[in-house]
Amino acid sequence: MNPVRELPTRLVGTALLVAALDPVARSGARPLELVLLVPALGFAWWAAPPVPPRRGMEAHRPHHQLARHRNTVLAVVAVALGALHQPSALLAVALTVLLLGYLLMVDARGAAHVPLGPLPLLAAAGASLLVLLAALVPWQSTSGARLPAALGIGLAALAVGAGLYERRGRE
């Protein structure tokens, strides 16, 4: 595969894992912990490019399966590492955007890529950011929580409606 075409995905995948590891919070960590970051970044660099369709489909050994599903493994590892701590709001936004962007980039090079219209992309990004906003803003225990809750429900209905409209347009 062309290394130049792989470069954007590698960079986004590596940035995703770096964001999940939160190196700023680890700046005061022991040198041994920082050394362990290196193999993690190496793994991200290896696992990030989209797996060519059908590569290794005939192999059933665990390491072959790992190589075949390495894109999924990278995304899941990033989610797991990110979930271990409570990052800053900015880092949480970055992690959310990077994960969504990485998944869309990998989908675009998959075996059965169906070009997405702008509405599904906006709906996915909007849903993620809305949930993030609801999670990060400390409204849950205040009387003003009803407003963002109603806003969230309205936006979710809007997203579903946009999706249905998009589908009807394609039919």
Binding site: P53, A83, L95, L99, L100, D107, G110, A111, A112, H113
Partner: protein, 430 residues
Amino acid sequence: MKASVVLGTAPSPPPSGWRAGGRTLRLLTVAVTAGVLALLTGHAWVLALAAGPAVLVVLAAPGGSRPLRLEASLTVSTRRCFEGETVRCTVELAADGVTGPLDPVLTLGPGVELVDDLVEADRAEFEFTAVRWGRWSIGTLDLDVYDRGGLARRTVRVELGELEVFPVPSAARLTPVPVELPARLGENATRQPGEGVEVIGVRPHVWGERQRRIHWPSTTRRGAVQLNEFGAERAVDTVMLLDALGDFRDPATGTSTLDETLRAAAGLTRAYLRRHDRIGLVSIGGTLRWLRAGSGEQHFYRIVQTVLDVRKDLGYRTPELDRLPPGALPAGALVYCFTPLADQRVLDVLADLTDRGNPLVVVELPTGEPSVDPQDELAVLALRLWRADREAMRFALRNRGIPVVAHTPGESLDLALAPLLRRRIHGGRR
């Protein structure tokens, strides 16, 4: 989209019905993992990581447009071709719903190579080149059909069927003939008196004979009418004996002896058929195959088709080396044995033929010498022994009065057969 090509044996049957595609599994895995971790860790923001993938999956759901019936129809441009020619296979998909992209996976047979492919919305085209002669399975096509959103896929299997690949005959024009020819009209002049066009002598006129053939110089010299005597023109019965006991690959050039065996035999068959001679065929190695001698252009294809199964998908069958059937070998037929002289068992077959009295010519196909390290003394000695063994086989044949000629692949077969034209080929001892 390009087809994925897999080499090797036919894959196991695909699962029937719709199943999740790779994209769906990836998005759902990430969404479920994020949701579970959010519940376990109590970090609400992690739900944001699940929301995006979940929305993408939901919006890609096809609703009721997913087809229930999928049928693929296959069109193959030809089922018979010569080596190097291309064959085009077209697969068209019919569905009772809306389908998404196609993802074909092609498991190729051993005798063909994929040259080009084109995958469109509801059809896929593949162009193959026939690499080697034989009767080959073209391959198996697993056509993954995705639904409109690319979430689920269903596999439709299409067997591409068999292809008969005929060898490209080697160039050959010379047709050596044996001493004795059967009493059948043909184009080869013989020493026996007959009604041909070649003068074989002069004899006195016998009362009652036509006088149109008077040889005037001897008539005036002897003072009595002398007539030209013409030789009869007969057809040759020729049998091609193919040694398919093994297939040896030349380490230097990569050529296969079995490939060259049939190419050379096909070239010589064409040369004899051009002269309206009768050609038969016996193939030893695997199942014994033989074809009674015949003539005509169609007989060429019959001969080749008889041999194609020798190499059915590179399978192996135990050779039958019993005595050759009498019907396969007409009395006095000239037998050409195409062999790499690599298997001692062929000597027994040739001895049997010599005992029958058939004139016999051995055309040796080179196997190439094993490559050895010149520094390795044992290997060098083994190579000398190998050469001596082959030379002993040639000596054994020549000692029985069987001419052995060597054919070099790529060269005209005439170069190998030219020495046989110096004199006619004698039969063996009866």
